[in-house]
């Protein structure tokens, strides 16, 4: 089977879209998750309640359902966004809700003595959170954040169902128009996602190494 250069270009464009959506959604998801995880532990019940509702709603339905909700219901209440924007934001909010629960657990796993020591040293609220608690919690969060990042990549395939021409949509189209045979098309699609997940795995691995660097034994000094 030979693909024309136009068809190859279409496939590459689709893969490019998938990458852009996955990267943007991931970049948004983790700050949202950490912020929501911290808000879940807030002193004020109203903040805890609102984040609780956000987390339960986004964890209680699937990303696909949320995507269709955003795509069909938002225009009816006067919010018009492109399908790619809706898709990226929905994926980010969905992963953010899962990340929030991870972040909350990780923050709670930091021994309370750390908080007390920071108070004893008269560190401000901000310094305590960002210089003492979060760096330690970050280590605990990373492995499940890695899984979530891959879930976001996989979730981008749902955007094909609301007309975003990303990898899955492109390949499905080519199979339906007989530019590709179904077997090579769909097995190829699996390979595309498999290859795209490799850099994510590597990035998470590097971040984990970095987060653990102070725990590694210092190399013996040559004398």
């Amino acid at each position: 089977m030979h693909l024309t250069s136009y068809e190859i270009h279409t496939i590459l464009t689709g893969i490019g879209k998938t990458v852009v959506i996955a990267v943007l959604a991931n970049v948004m998801a983790f700050p949202i998750g950490i912020a929501a995880g911290m808000a879940r532990l807030s002193r004020w019940w109203i903040v805890r309640f609102v984040t609780g509702v956000y987390i339960e709603v986004f964890r209680g339905t699937s990303a696909l359902v949320q995507l269709f909700y955003g795509y069909f219901v938002l225009p009816q209440i006067g919010i018009h966004l492109g399908s790619m924007t809706v898709g990226t934001v929905v994926l980010a909010l969905n992963a953010g809700a899962y990340a929030a629960e991870t972040a909350r657990g990780a923050i709670q796993s930091v021994p309370s003595g750390q908080m007390e020591a920071a108070a004893a040293l008269n560190l401000s609220w901000l310094t305590t959170r960002f210089r003492i608690i979060l760096p330690q919690a970050w280590r605990t969060m990373l492995p499940s954040f890695g899984n979530l990042a891959i879930d976001v990549l996989k979730g981008t395939s749902f955007l094909s169902l609301v007309g975003v021409p990303e990898a899955t949509a492109t390949i499905t189209n080519m199979s339906l128009t007989h530019a590709l045979k179904p077997d090579s098309a769909y097995v190829g699609l699996l390979v595309i996602y498999l290859v795209l997940s490799i850099p994510l795995v590597i990035v998470v691995h590097l971040l984990e190494r970095r987060a653990h660097r102070h725990l590694r034994p210092v190399a013996a000094k040559a004398t």
């Binding site: 696909l64 069909f72 209440i77 169902l161 045979k181 179904p182 699609l189 498999l194």
Partner: protein
């Protein structure tokens, strides 16, 4: 028709969809629980070749989208003259997808059993099969129960993807109703509430299980 009377008139159709979602979840879970055992055994095998095979199966399934996997079953199997009904394709896709996750859960449970248990069994002259089946497996299973319950919940939500291979579950039913009446806001909100009505209480039960049984 007013919104309220329309909502009542479509509720039976949505509930039928919900029933299909629940059925698909049950069947897929049964498949994944069973298929997870051999995949886990490959993954923890002492033979390197089998271990590599286990890792390969698990990473391919976990790193590719469920939707793409469903398309493979839906479009590629007929090429080999294997014609399956949409629900069977859906159960096969969802079941094999979660097989990878459940195999890893079994492995985590297996690894949580202290080595002393194996040594004690060896000291009592128990065979490898008896040790695995009667000593290790019962201890390994306990902490996996909350994780499996969590996957059951995730699976229920993921049945919505089965719409893409023409299974009329809750999400599919909602789409076809809204394509007729264009009452997107009402129908999608009803659907969201139905999903939440199942998932929120189920999530509470999972949290309770986690506290009671611990977790791997």
């Amino acid at each position: 028709m007013s919104n309220t009377s329309y909502a009542w008139s479509v509720l039976p159709a949505l509930l039928r969809g919900l029933k299909v979602s629940v059925e698909a979840t049950g069947l897929s879970m049964a498949l994944a629980l069973i298929a997870g055992v051999p995949v886990c055994l490959l993954r923890i095998s002492r033979l390197r070749a089998l271990r590599v095979m286990g890792v390969a199966i698990i990473s391919v399934i976990r790193n590719t989208p469920l939707l793409a996997q469903l398309y493979v079953y839906f479009y590629v199997l007929p090429e080999f003259h294997i014609e399956l009904s949409p629900l069977v394709v859906g159960v096969l896709g969802l079941g094999t997808h979660f097989t990878a996750y459940i195999a890893e859960t079994y492995r985590a449970g297996y690894e949580s059993v202290p080595a002393g248990q194996w040594e004690a069994a060896a000291a009592l002259n128990l065979g490898r099969v008896i040790t695995l089946g009667r000593i290790v497996a019962p201890q390994a299973l306990r902490p996996t129960i909350p994780v499996l319950a969590n996957y059951l919940l995730a699976m229920f939500k993921d049945t919505s993807v089965l719409t893409a291979v023409t299974v009329t579950e809750l999400f599919g039913a909602t789409i076809s109703l809204s394509n007729e009446s264009f009452r997107f806001t009402l129908l999608y909100s009803m659907m969201g509430l139905l999903y939440l009505a199942v998932c929120y209480p189920a999530g509470r039960i999972v949290a309770l299980l986690e506290r009671r049984l611990g977790s791997v």
